[in-house]
Symmetry: C3
Subunit: 387 residues, 3 copies
């Protein structure tokens, strides 16, 4: 009994499998020989096909997968500046005017400054115009004003009509910004950018020192959007100009400029074509904008150099106006991948289905002979008379 039953099952399964493998279903179709419907439908279908091939595949490269890079940037400035403030000659080199010194992707080049030398801890009156007072009662002792320079002692100084504070004295007077900027020579400094990008998905690493950009070329080239677009040495004046700013304005009050290194690479072609493009634009506001209130320029910070003199800690305070450069790496690599290709095809076939639905609507609801076509297309289960 069991054996025969088992054999029966086995043969049933074998039958079902062979049926499954040797059969094949294909939908039955009506071939509508109607010029109007035919032309309309074919045009819709051709449109869908053109969209899939032309747009998705060729224009948008839908057969590729994309990846963005992890990147690393190193910068190096070169050049010296010279200032002559009331006979006091001074030269400024890289160690003096770049903050921070170690070649980060975001750094500041000093172009102007207000120097306050020999500050030491003590009491002195606040800056004129700040925390004015008429009598000691206007200066509450022991309090700190957020915008002040120090802690009030409770005394109103007569000569300046401002409160006395415990602070680094004398306090900095930043009412007048040197004009023209003290370090206009910054225009001729050069910036060297070293940038490497890695696309982890594709295992590709590229450096902005691409083929042909070797030590010999670097030693003598200067970036120019037209003539030397791959040279990684940039003149500061050129960068500022290409961002649409005037160097004198930005050098006086400071500003922030983004240097975009754009890696848009098609890895299906030779990797040598994967080259960086350099763009420059002002950060925090567009120089062409008229809305001055939105602070399109203006960048400064304070920096102190400490020293000991006569056993007393002193400092030289610099209010540094400068150009802040942000090297922004923007990357997008594309490479052929089977998944997006098949997803695009599959989704395209789906849209083909939409075309068929539209044509069917025309056929079954708009044409004069629609009843005829309806009969051709549909078979009804409840009508006992089958064609």
């Amino acid at each position: 009994m069991w054996v025969s039953r088992c054999q029966k099952m086995k043969s049933q399964i074998t039958n079902a499998l062979s049926d499954f493998f040797f059969e094949y279903e294909t939908p039955r179709q009506v071939l509508v020989r109607n010029r109007r419907v035919g032309v309309v439908c074919r045009l819709i279908q051709l449109g869908v096909l053109a969209y899939i091939i032309g747009w998705v595949f060729i224009y948008e490269k839908g057969y590729q997968s994309t990846d963005t890079a992890v990147s690393s940037v190193f910068t190096k400035m070169k050049g010296v500046g010279y200032t002559n403030v009331s006979g006091n000659e001074r030269v400024w080199d890289v160690a003096d005017y770049v903050f921070p010194p170690q070649g980060d992707s975001s750094f500041v080049v000093m172009t102007n400054y207000i120097i306050t030398e020999g500050q030491k801890m003590g009491t002195c009156p606040e800056l004129k115009g700040k925390h004015s007072c008429k009598s000691d009662s206007d200066c509450e002792g022991g309090t700190l004003k957020r915008t002040g320079h120090g802690q009030m002692t409770g005394v109103c100084v007569n000569s300046t009509k401002t409160c006395e504070v415990l602070a680094w004295c004398p306090v900095e007077d930043d009412h007048v910004i040197p004009d023209p900027p003290l370090l206009m020579s910054a225009e001729n400094y050069t910036l060297f950018i070293k940038n490497s990008v890695t696309f982890p998905l594709f295992g590709v690493t590229r450096s902005n020192l691409v083929e042909g950009i070797d030590a010999g070329y670097i030693s003598q080239c200067l970036h120019d959007p037209e003539k030397a677009p791959l040279c990684p040495i940039f003149r500061l004046g050129d960068i500022v100009k290409l961002s649409g700013f005037s160097f004198e304005t930005i050098a006086k009050v400071g500003g922030a400029i983004g240097i975009v290194v754009d890696w848009t690479c098609n890895l299906d072609v030779d990797i040598k074509n994967c080259k960086p493009k350099y763009n420059f634009h002002g950060l925090y506001g567009n120089p062409a904008e008229t809305d001055k209130a939105r602070a399109s320029v203006g960048y400064n910070f304070r920096y102190a150099k400490h020293y000991m003199e006569d056993k007393t800690e002193k400092r030289t305070l610099l209010k540094v106006f400068g150009i802040r450069f942000d090297i922004i790496v923007q990357s997008l690599a594309r490479k052929f991948d089977i998944i997006p290709t098949l997803t695009a095809i599959g989704s395209g076939v789906g849209i083909f289905g939409v075309a068929t639905v539209v044509c069917d609507l025309v056929l079954l609801y708009l044409l004069p002979k629609r009843e005829f076509y309806k009969n051709m297309k549909f078979k009804y289960t409840d009508t006992q008379t089958q064609k």
Copy 2:
């Protein structure tokens, strides 16, 4: 001969083309008039439709393509601190308590410190409790301990029972952290954030100084999640509170706080609606977590100020405890795009096909009249009797 053959081919191609253009196939269908199957299938189809329209299109906005931004951040602190350590009054301003000074997106505000003044190169015993020794043989001369302060001289100092080292002497004693923190006044410092984002795919640039946030507003506003959510001036105490920390704890031992600027923008609506949201949270561990071992707070680094005294190089070493702020820009812009729209539609039509398959399974395998439907649906090529 050739001509006629060529003409024949030409007419053949023309015929095939006209056939192709004037014909149109549409699948033949069985219209099953069965209430149960009908209702089930329509519900499945409506479900799929509701999913595609409701979820993919409306909820997930599948008709839009997305892009993340490249961004640039500039920060500026304001405020002064005051310390009085055993009668030695001192004021700390921005140049003293912010590291680095130039307004980076990641910076540290000093809130507490251990100062070791007047260090100079020389030999002195190691700190008590570190590298203890009983005799000179415990201190191998000429070796460097990774956790020590310098190079051992091979001498065991009797008074401290530690090895003598060549180091910046005297060595720093950081056993006791000042409590309460010396610069509790940091709570009232303010932070100004300037942030611009660019969505390269859409060519859109936005600044966190959006419409209405002009110089006049900034000069007097203070960020508040409810009342002034767009004001870019933040009180340090507020930030710490919103991150869920206690200021006194974090000021004492230091900590790291992330300020997330969230740009989630729908660029299909007016660009004025693309505004930043500010969130604050502790980095490196959740303040609500009970697992204290995972070091949710604690941030310090060492910083030296060098000077010359009597022709000798000396330094003031600061072990700085502070709050490290990381401005993290998180961005996602969405805009209508034809490709994702059609991909979503195409893929939706595909899922419609799945609905049909499910209904067919019900029809052909579960219904009592399944044999009847099978006959209606399928035509067999090997049965010679065709309906």
Copy 3:
């Protein structure tokens, strides 16, 4: 009248609705009982199915949506170095050799240096070999050379045959790089990395101090790719070795190394499996590359310490050669999501349609009995004799 018309419309709509709900269309199909076609088509269909299930779903995990993280990194170095330059013993601690000091994700560890002590503003001849001159006419007074050290005074100094400049004097002589590097002890320094990542889409935050990596473990572990892959304490020598460089080479002239913290997480499984992997590789060029011209190693910057001596500002200039470490966080989290799942299914059904089209082509154009099958599949609207 109106009422009856309205009722008629209502009943019509009700009818149409009930028709719609109680009917169900399913395509009529031909079941082709042909072994060859059957096998070919089933194989194609199985292939498509295998692709969709095996590749899209299992291998590429197409049922998951992906997200990259926002991250925050804090680093801390430990260790002391010792130099003995012509009898002048010196110890270098963290405050001396790390730039910047505050524990950024990108920092430099000094391994070698050229020191120029006691520079002050003045005039002195340029470095030998730079801006050589034969007479004063070769040195144009008042000009600045981009690669020079200062402003020319117009004098040619006889002893060195170089132009005299106003600069920080004496000028730095960096012709000879100390070899072996002065701070070879840097090999034994250790680096501690604290890293937290947040996947905003999934609301998941992880720290590299995962379960089991507690304070006790950290205090005594040392990273090893095999034995301690999760320990966040790294020996500098190990990092350099794992990047494929020789420590002595890179310590002498400097170099840049990327430490990639790789967070590839499948959030469908227990979050405890979401652990970081650490990789190390040279930035700016591959150490295995033979193209030496592309500057695979070499990293330096200049750094000045200012001080006052006899009322004069002086500085100690350090040309720092060092290893720059960039902690690069690379992240990809995946989690089940209904949208990509259904998109993949829908698109897969679409590709199934392609399989049917291919089989139909075989059936209708390649088989000997193609005319028979064509008749079975198609019904023509213009032939009046309907089967």
